[in-house]
Symmetry: C2
Subunit: 218 residues, 2 copies
DNA sequence: ATATATTTTTAGATTACTCTAAATTTTGTT
DNA sequence: AACAAAATTTAGAGTAATCTAAAAATATAT
């Protein structure tokens, strides 16, 4: 079982290796964790001894299969708690990170399961990031423009093509946000406009322009 | 700000001093926290230096005003999370202690506030223990016979008038215990009998005799 | 009241995590 | 290729929390 600190290091290494796709440097880890490179060297050695990372002196570090699985469980908890904080406790999406950073370390497998169920098995967090499933797998399709979705399908809003502030304000007004479920009811063959139904049962009309800029996942 | 360990010691000292009403002994603390008396001595010294407890060597320890306030905030968080786990995540009341023990250390004043609101400002936890309010005060109402409660009100079972064993056996059979929440659905003007709904959604009928002997708090 | 038992504290050591400073390895430049 | 710069590791030390063993204080019993 990993300590609080070990979990933070492992998560940081996982995130960095996802970003760069290459071996992660000691300095990079030290920077994101606000520690000194010397501390990182120590901790990497420990994680390596326990088999969570692959490490060669001076050559950088990478998560092992075991480490990746563990990291994804922590990320899963972090993102589920973020959903809880935003959906249930009415926090704004930009206020939840620090609290989720604490909550992600709570140890109870059954708690995570029950929380997941309570939240309705969400697949993305309030920032649009995917939530790994119980087996630690990220199952989420490619992001495609809403305009490409066929009639009758239900999709999940996972991003925007163009994060222009006027567009975001418009989305806010029509009550579409990351995580909103959308059912495509009708699609005009003429101008590509759409009639869609939102999670709250409301049915609205959107232009092709909006549908092109909204990224969704099936 | 207190560390995880310091919070646990402070809480233990508070609970023990509530029980005994006298100074708390080093051995007693060591026993409830599963540590050694030597460790307790060390920690007490630290808490005393920080002003959370009053301490004289060999004479035992007691929480200060400041320590009491802090302890009640931790207890507040513990009990609110227990309500969350039972009411929202469908845990049983006897499964939540260890998880709440972890959750109580999450640091965010606004989180506690929002959780409290989300849960509907509960005043008791699933074990029937009172939840301190935001100022750290425990507000428990007077105990009154259930028969005096008006229709539509929800109350908490906090005692019995007559602890006759036949009566207690009867309560057990109809699934009423200390801590059970009761909603008064109907009250007969004729014989004082009542239709009540329990925490588990079950609706049952009780005689005036039972209602007279059940003490509840609003 | 004095010896004995119990409780509590102190002393010294250990583990986990962190740091600074110095040594070592790698990288980049000419 | 050789040297300087940067990155990394090691060495040594500090803090927090814990422990065991020994010493000191308090409580108990005859």
């Amino acid at each position: 079982m990993l300590s609080h600190a070990e979990e933070n290091y492992l998560k940081a290494i996982y995130h960095l290796s996802q970003a760069d796709k290459s071996d992660v440097s000691t300095n990079a880890i030290a920077e994101v964790l606000n520690t000194k490179p010397a501390s990182v060297s120590d901790m990497i050695k420990k994680l390596s001894d326990k088999g969570f990372v692959n490490y060669q002196k001076y050559k950088g570090v990478n998560v092992s299969v075991k480490g990746r699985k563990e990291a994804l469980q922590i990320i899963r908890k972090h993102r589920l708690w973020e959903v809880f904080l935003v959906d249930k406790l009415q926090f704004n999406w930009d206020e939840v990170h620090d609290i989720a950073e604490q909550l992600e370390h709570i140890k109870s497998h059954i708690l995570t399961q029950k929380l997941d169920k309570f939240l309705g098995y969400p697949r993305i967090d309030p920032h649009g990031d995917p939530i790994p499933d119980e087996r630690g797998e990220i199952v989420i399709g490619k992001k495609v423009p809403l305009s490409e979705i066929e009639e009758g399908k239900t999709v999940l809003v996972t991003g925007v093509e163009d994060s222009d502030s006027e567009f975001l304000a418009h989305l806010d007004k029509i009550k579409i946000a990351l995580g909103t479920k959308i059912l495509v009811q009708e699609k005009s063959a003429f101008d590509g406009s759409m009639q869609i139904e939102l999670s709250n049962q409301q049915s609205i009309f959107i232009s092709k322009q909006v549908a092109d800029n909204l990224l969704v996942t099936e």
